[in-house]
Symmetry: C2
Subunit: 404 residues, 2 copies
């Protein structure tokens, strides 16, 4: 069902990182549900996390360990360990203690991640029992299996690699992501991991991950539901020999562009695999007075169930887009100046139906699997783009059946 | 498909108002799609209207005519006359001019209303051609037919009556409403008309309609889509002999309570007939620091597609409610103090799963057709209630097929 989402191929190992997985039976038997990522000494790690006030126990630990010398990340699926109070925090800590003992490091050097059902206690004994198997198969070329091990309602693993020449060194970047529902990341998404063998100082890496998230994972939405577990992690091992030390250097600029390109690719993969998705929709709002108002309008369109079902039906019932623009909360918006395009088709002009608009033209674009909605506000120079998908019968089926 | 929504019965004429309808063929043949409400001399009318920036042409005219001595209201379905620019305004004006000629009044004394598809020009000739038939059958006991004449995707007409003794006079109130999708009124809903034979001055009626809307139509949501045409109108004919002249009088208090009760009944009828609805959900947030934050959290729960599909499935996957509370945007919310009830079942206590909570208890409540979600924030004395419905396959079907 995914929309133009290729299976991962040509995934490149990132020197300085090994990945191991296990079938721990956390919720269901016979599926990869546990992932360990071991980092070489000297790697730096930075992340951005959900702003949901019910942020999960592992997210709370990750935030507290920000800036520590991290040696491993551990991810389980099948249980979000969110809405679990103190027992949930204890379970997350216990997982880290067990892994630290196996890897001969400190528990404070482990970052835990969980994804799955909320409001149920993590079966920590099963997680711990799975760790030795995951460590036994640690390998640098396990990225495909790692992408599979973090899937929940995803229909496909999501992963990609890039290489670049930076400062005379060959630098590799590989990332994985998961998520198909409860997707409207606010700071990050649930879950994304991007590793590079570039070396980046902790302070610089914090900036890099935030900038990349803001233009990638923070620009997607499937259902408007911000998860309790969203996390996007950037890992820099330094094994390539490149050390980036200044945000003003050409090396930083190139690396940031590579990280952003890969982050956007991983974020868009989540939308392409959105629960029940049949269309991939790009919403661009231009000529706004601020980026914030452009984002507000773009999200309003991207979240409207009426707009999303019209896309599912390939029905050019485009007045629904105007309605969503109108209630976006931009109180001084002069709709009399606004233009609406569907790909190259000018649908509404100066706030009303374009006299030259023909329903056949709208119909033609609506039938495509990739569609761009473009809104021109004629009140400034700012713009924003959000990626989303349609709302289909399968979204309802998937979410009415998810736990059973 | 409607949830515990009885067919209208015992609708009472309101002295001072006559209603007439026609089959004007505006979008489809052989269905009532045009309504005229003629008011006796001396009636006052006040309304609240959508805050959608793309507010429809008729809404713009209604706002401009606020406070005029209104003699008639005219409503068409099948076309919203929104997103239609200047030609749309001209069409709405032309409708009023035609009706004014037939009723021997001024066009400025007519309020027009439209509901239906957005971004298509109103076929004004068909509307005008239908007016004589509507006027020919003007009667005071046409409320049932009037409720039918304003339906679009509604599966049932929505109407109710009340009577009260106020200031020694018998006062009658009858109202009709419509709407099943694009429902998250912001000031009012699409469409509600409530008439009484109490006499109320224009200034007092403006207050009365606003107060009633804030606690009725502004407390419901089906899909979070605020329509371009929402209008809630209160008509006071004065034919009962009662004249209410002060907001501090006991007569005003009684009348306001009656108007509110009927408004809530009409608003809840819209939710019960929500597109594809199988459950009627009351979301109450208590012990908040302000009404605004309680409403924010209640709407966040009521709009979450994941929460709504869980209700559809009768699946007590209640962590989704915690997630929706967490991303509602109350930034200083201490989730560690929060309790969550499903009817009388305490699901989450102090931010985590209640140790005594048993899934069977949640399951029992989720299977009901009427469910109350109660959230206690433990941070203040304010509260808010929102009424909503679930998200089912039929919602997608209805909105994927609406225009065809």
């Amino acid at each position: 069902m995914a929309v133009n989402l290729p299976l991962p191929s040509n995934l490149l190992p990132v020197p300085g990182i090994e990945l191991g997985f296990a079938e721990a039976g956390i919720r269901k038997a016979n599926r990869k549900d546990l992932l360990v990522m071991r980092l070489a000494d000297g790697a730096t790690v930075a992340g951005v996390f959900t702003l949901n006030r019910f942020c999960a126990a592992p997210v709370q630990l990750c935030k507290a360990r920000s800036g520590n010398k991290i040696r491993a990340l551990v991810v389980n699926t099948g249980n979000a360990n969110a809405g679990t109070g103190e027992p949930g925090l204890a379970a997350a800590r216990e997982t880290c203690v067990a892994l630290a003992a196996l890897l001969a490091c400190d528990a404070e050097q482990i970052l835990p991640f969980s994804t799955g059902v909320i409001l149920e206690l993590l079966p920590v004994e099963r997680v711990k029992a799975g760790l030795p198997a995951a460590i036994a198969n640690l390998k640098s070329d396990n990225w495909q299996a790692a992408a599979e091990a973090i899937m929940t309602t995803d229909t496909q693993p999501k992963a990609a690699s890039r290489t670049a020449q930076i400062g005379g060194k060959k630098v590799t970047l590989t990332g994985i992501s998961k998520g198909a529902g409860m997707i409207k990341p606010n700071m990050a998404t649930m879950l994304g991991f991007l590793a590079t063998d570039a070396g980046v100082s902790q302070a610089l890496l914090e900036k890099l991950v935030k900038d990349a998230a803001d233009q990638s994972f923070n620009c997607i939405t499937i259902d408007g539901d911000t998860s309790t577990n969203d996390s996007f992690m950037l890992i820099a091992t330094g094994a390539s020999g490149l050390q980036v030390t200044s945000a003003d250097s050409p090396e930083y600029a190139t690396l940031a562009a590579e990280v952003l390109a890969l982050s956007q690719q991983l974020a868009q993969m989540i939308v392409r695999d959105g629960e029940g998705a049949t269309k991939f929709i790009t919403v661009t709002v231009e000529q706004g007075a601020s980026v914030a108002e452009c984002r507000k309008i773009a999200y309003s369109i991207a979240h409207s169930p009426l707009v999303k079902t019209a896309f599912f039906a390939s029905d050019p019932n485009l007045g629904r887009i105007l309605a969503a623009i109108g209630y976006a909360g931009v109180d001084d918006l002069d709709v009399g100046k606004l233009d609406l395009y569907l790909d190259d088709v000018l649908v509404a002009k100066a706030g009303g139906r374009n006299p030259d608009y023909r329903e056949e033209d709208g119909q033609r674009v609506m039938k495509q699997s990739e569609i761009t909605v473009r809104v021109r506000l004629a009140r400034g120079t700012h713009a924003a783009t959000i990626w989303t998908c349609d709302l289909s019968h399968d979204y309802v089926s998937i979410n009415a059946d998810y736990r059973s």
